[in-house]
């Protein structure tokens, strides 16, 4: 009897729990609703003020893009803060830049949460899923779409038109409209795009110039020459240790050898325009087959690390630093990482960037990716949605157009105050333009203090002079930095110079995408990318051959590829 009672109790308990879990699931789905209704209420309760402000605007007709909020408004934000340094008495919650926002724009910034950059996605996802987002914060393309579908953010179409300043608009439009398009869903602009550069995905060929000189070789123009150089490196061991020919690591999808594919006019992991003007996936084109088989040949010939399939990009960098590798494909900023230690270990090391060689007569084109991957949005129901546009104008005015040294970099402390600002964005050609200026000054032997000490050019040029003066003084930290700046921004054959070459000679392949993501893309792209990466790895290792390529293409199409392609072409 008692036992049965126990059983009944258990049943009741389980049923109750099941109901609770169902209920909680329901409430989870509905989380966006209270927000929307709150938002609706908030807008409803504000008609008086809104119409009032509209009428004043209509009366004056001129809207000041930098106009101060009076009375000041409070804005809760979510932000990143990596490795910031502060003057005594300042913090991320109370500092000169935040005071500047408050005094000159009437915006009091309150950090609702702060998170290191690489954890931003996790933190913001939790905030979005739980329906508890800050007033203003940054999201990626997929989150933007989700927020719009859940009705959690404000439509900014009107306020953008009304409040955006000339200078801000110029920077945002510099990429030909991609950024604004990416922030627009169903014809409405829902976010301010944090414009950045698209060429971080562009590859170039990095070579140990001193090795080439030592072996009497010239930089490669064709893929055959590239293979020849790789085999010469392996044969001759220029630094006296066992040497790999070409650097390849397991993260093929992170553009570690994309330049090699580009040499065959193939664009794996990326979307391109075909001859009919349609958007197609580069990874399934016949050129990719040729390219990956050529890479497999190099592997067979012993020119690629036998263990590349288990080694990450950090290991490739280690090999370069240790003098075991003298040829890698990477972005223009390759030397800006710990690659500097190559020079610290070996004063004779010279690393030079070259445009990618090509398999045939046509020059290889570098892939230029999206210029906006991050978007600033405003929570639904926030009274002053124009604040996000004004913050962008404020950033343009005080950090780009008329930089204020008080909020740039501290003269003595070297503390970068500008990092505290929010809604940062910069010109899609920033580093190329910096390079052009620095190069001209360097060749004309102009003093580096021609530039304000808040600017990057000041440091780049100073470093280049330091290195040029004592190129062998590799234990001196200033010269070490000089080597790094010279290799990235200097001349000849720095990373940025090759970028400049790509742009002036039209050797770029710009992403055809006009949107950040599609519904199927956000669901299936990670799986497809993984599949592609695994397939290429197998081909290079010789475990799969030319015949398997067609099967891979069929699989790729079937598992969502076709669907995404169709969505993109709509």
């Amino acid at each position: 009897m008692k036992k049965r009672m126990g059983k009944v109790r258990i049943m009741v308990l389980i049923v109750a729990l099941a109901m609770v879990s169902i209920l909680s699931a329901c409430s989870k789905e509905n989380t966006s609703e209270p927000n929307t209704s709150n938002g609706a209420k908030a807008t409803n309760s504000q008609p008086a003020t809104e119409s009032a402000s509209e009428t004043t605007n209509a009366e004056s007709e001129t809207v000041d893009p930098l106009g101060k909020f009076d009375p000041p408004i409070e804005v809760k934000i979510g932000r990143t803060a990596d490795g910031f340094k502060f003057e005594a008495g300042e913090s991320i919650d109370k500092n000169r830049v935040y005071d500047f926002y408050e005094s000159d724009l009437g915006v009091k910034l309150i950090n609702e949460w702060i998170v290191p950059g690489d954890q931003y996605a996790a933190k913001s996802n939790v905030a979005i899923s739980s329906g508890n987002i800050p007033d203003v914060f940054m999201v990626d393309g997929i989150q933007l779409r989700n927020l719009v579908e859940a009705g959690m953010i404000e439509d900014l179409t009107e306020v953008y038109e009304k409040y955006v300043s000339e200078d801000t608009k110029k920077t945002v439009d510099e990429d030909g409209g991609y950024a604004v398009n990416a922030a627009t869903i169903d014809g409405k602009m829902y976010a301010f795009p944090a414009v950045t550069q698209g060429f971080w995905t562009s590859n170039m060929l990095w070579l140990r110039q001193d090795w080439l000189d030592k072996l009497g070789l010239t930089p490669p123009k064709t893929m055959d020459e590239l293979v020849h150089i790789a085999s010469e490196f392996v044969k001759n061991k220029p630094d006296g240790v066992d040497t790999y020919g070409l650097g390849v690591s397991k993260e093929l999808s992170q553009f570690v050898v994309n330049g090699f594919f580009n040499g065959y006019h193939s664009y794996p992991f990326q979307w391109v325009t075909d001859s009919d003007g349609k958007i197609v996936y580069g990874g399934i084109q016949p050129e990719t087959k040729t390219a990956v088989l050529a890479l497999a040949d190099m592997y067979k010939a012993g020119l690629i690390d036998k263990e590349f399939g288990v080694k990450d990009a950090a290991k490739t960098r280690e090999a370069v630093i240790a003098g075991k590798l003298g040829m890698v494909y990477s972005s223009f900023g390759y030397a800006f990482s710990n690659i500097k230690d190559l020079y610290v270990n070996n004063p004779d090391a010279v690393l030079r960037a070259y445009p990618m060689p090509s398999a045939d007569g046509a020059p290889a084109k570098a892939y230029v990716g999206p210029t906006a991957g991050s978007f600033w949005v405003v929570k639904k129901g926030f009274k002053n949605p124009e604040v996000v546009i004004k913050l962008a104008n404020f950033f343009t005015e005080h950090w780009m157009v008329n930089p204020k040294s008080d909020y740039g970099t501290g003269k003595d402390s070297g503390i970068m105050y500008w990092q505290y600002s929010i809604l940062q964005f910069n010109s899609p050609l920033l580093q190329v333009n910096e390079h052009r200026r620095v190069k001209a000054s360097f060749l004309a032997n102009e003093p580096f203090d021609k530039y304000p000490n808040t600017s990057n050019e000041y440091f780049y040029l100073k470093g280049m002079y330091d290195y040029a003066k004592n190129p062998k003084d590799n234990k001196n930290a200033d010269v070490q930095n000089g080597w790094m700046y010279n290799t990235t921004f200097g001349t000849p054959n720095s990373g940025a110079e090759v970028l400049d070459y790509y742009f002036t000679n039209n050797q770029t392949m710009t992403t055809p995408l006009k949107i950040a993501s599609t519904p199927t893309m956000s669901q299936k792209m990670p799986t497809l990318t993984k599949m592609e990466e695994v397939f290429y790895t197998k081909v290079i290792l010789g475990e799969a051959g030319a015949d398997d390529f067609d099967k891979f293409v069929a699989d790729w199409k079937k598992q969502g590829g076709d669907e995404i392609t169709a969505e993109l072409n709509n």
């Binding site: 109790r9 258990i10 609702e112 939790v126 950045t196 971080w200 553009f255 630093i321 710990n338 500097k340």
Partner: protein, 291 residues
């Protein structure tokens, strides 16, 4: 007889060697990390360092000492372990004791047992749990790290079964002498259960020390992060294809500092482990009734 003995000796030798190899295999990565942290960055970045530091340098450690974030996170972790350990152990004891009694003496026992077991099988999931924590106003406080996982059903089961293994006669004789449940729990059951208490204490402690994800989710400031959350943010390799500025690129060069922080973070738990481990030795209970 003699051959049996020698074969036994052989077995001992083989086992010892196997364990020795296993031990070395476990130790090698740690030694590598220590060597790495004591080398100069240039040597470390060129992949030359294996088990012995090259171009010995203490720079990485002095850097940590000057890095306020590391110290702050360290304190948060200590606070978390201290609070978490005491609260968890107390709650576990208080829950396990009544549940270890028979259904005849504790009527709704089965109900409560199933109540707890169900929570072991079904969890609310990340977002609902987050919303609960938020609703209680625990976000960005140390309690968000301590309270949500304070009652571990697995630990309760462990403790409960241990209590049940204690001879009933002990309780009965104590009752006869006029003891109440509190006295029995704290004066008799608890002292006899130290080995299992030590076990769950160790589990809880290591769990709290190693947890990082909740710190990231519940804390709104990097300076409130426990140590492992902080370490997680510095040791993960960035996705190279997503890097769009120089600050991120520069970040990947400080590997000696990262390894040094891993070593310092490892120390406390390594120090505590051997002291708690001796409690694992059982057999205390066996003697208590006979005596």
């Amino acid at each position: 007889m003699g051959s049996k003995k020698s074969s036994q000796q052989l077995a001992t030798i083989v086992i010892s060697i196997a364990m020795l190899v296993l031990g070395i295999v476990c130790l090698l990565p740690v030694i590598h990390i220590i060597a790495f942290s004591l080398s100069s960055p240039a040597a470390a970045n060129s992949g030359k360092v294996l088990l012995w530091p090259i171009e010995f340098s203490l720079d990485a450690y002095t850097y940590i000492m000057d890095e306020p974030k590391f110290g702050k996170s360290f304190l948060v972790s200590l606070e978390r372990v201290g609070l978490g350990l005491s609260i968890s152990c107390l709650l576990t004891l208080l829950t396990a004791y009544p549940l270890s009694k028979e259904s005849a003496r504790f009527r709704s026992r089965t109900f409560y047992v199933w109540f707890f077991v169900t929570t072991m099988l079904f969890s609310g999931g990340l977002i609902p749990t987050y919303m609960v924590v938020r609703a209680y106003g625990l976000l960005d406080t140390i309690w968000a790290l301590v309270l949500p996982g304070a009652v571990q059903v697995f630990n309760i089961t462990l403790m409960l079964n241990f209590f049940r293994g204690l001879p009933k006669e002990l309780d009965e004789s104590a009752f006869v002498d006029g003891a109440g449940h509190w006295t029995i729990l704290f004066r008799i059951s608890l002292p006899l259960s130290l080995p299992s208490l030590a076990t769950i204490a160790l589990f809880t402690m290591v769990g709290h020390w190693n947890a990082w994800f909740d710190g990231l989710i519940y804390m709104n400031r990097p300076e409130h992060y426990p140590l492992q959350t902080y370490l997680q943010t510095i040791v993960t390799n960035p996705d190279m294809s997503r890097i769009t500025n120089f600050a991120e690129l520069k970040n990947i060069s400080t590997r000696t500092v990262k390894t040094a922080q891993i070593i310092v973070a490892m120390l406390p738990i390594i120090v505590v482990y051997p002291f708690l481990q001796r409690f694992f030795v059982k057999g205390i209970v066996l003697g208590s009734v006979k005596g």
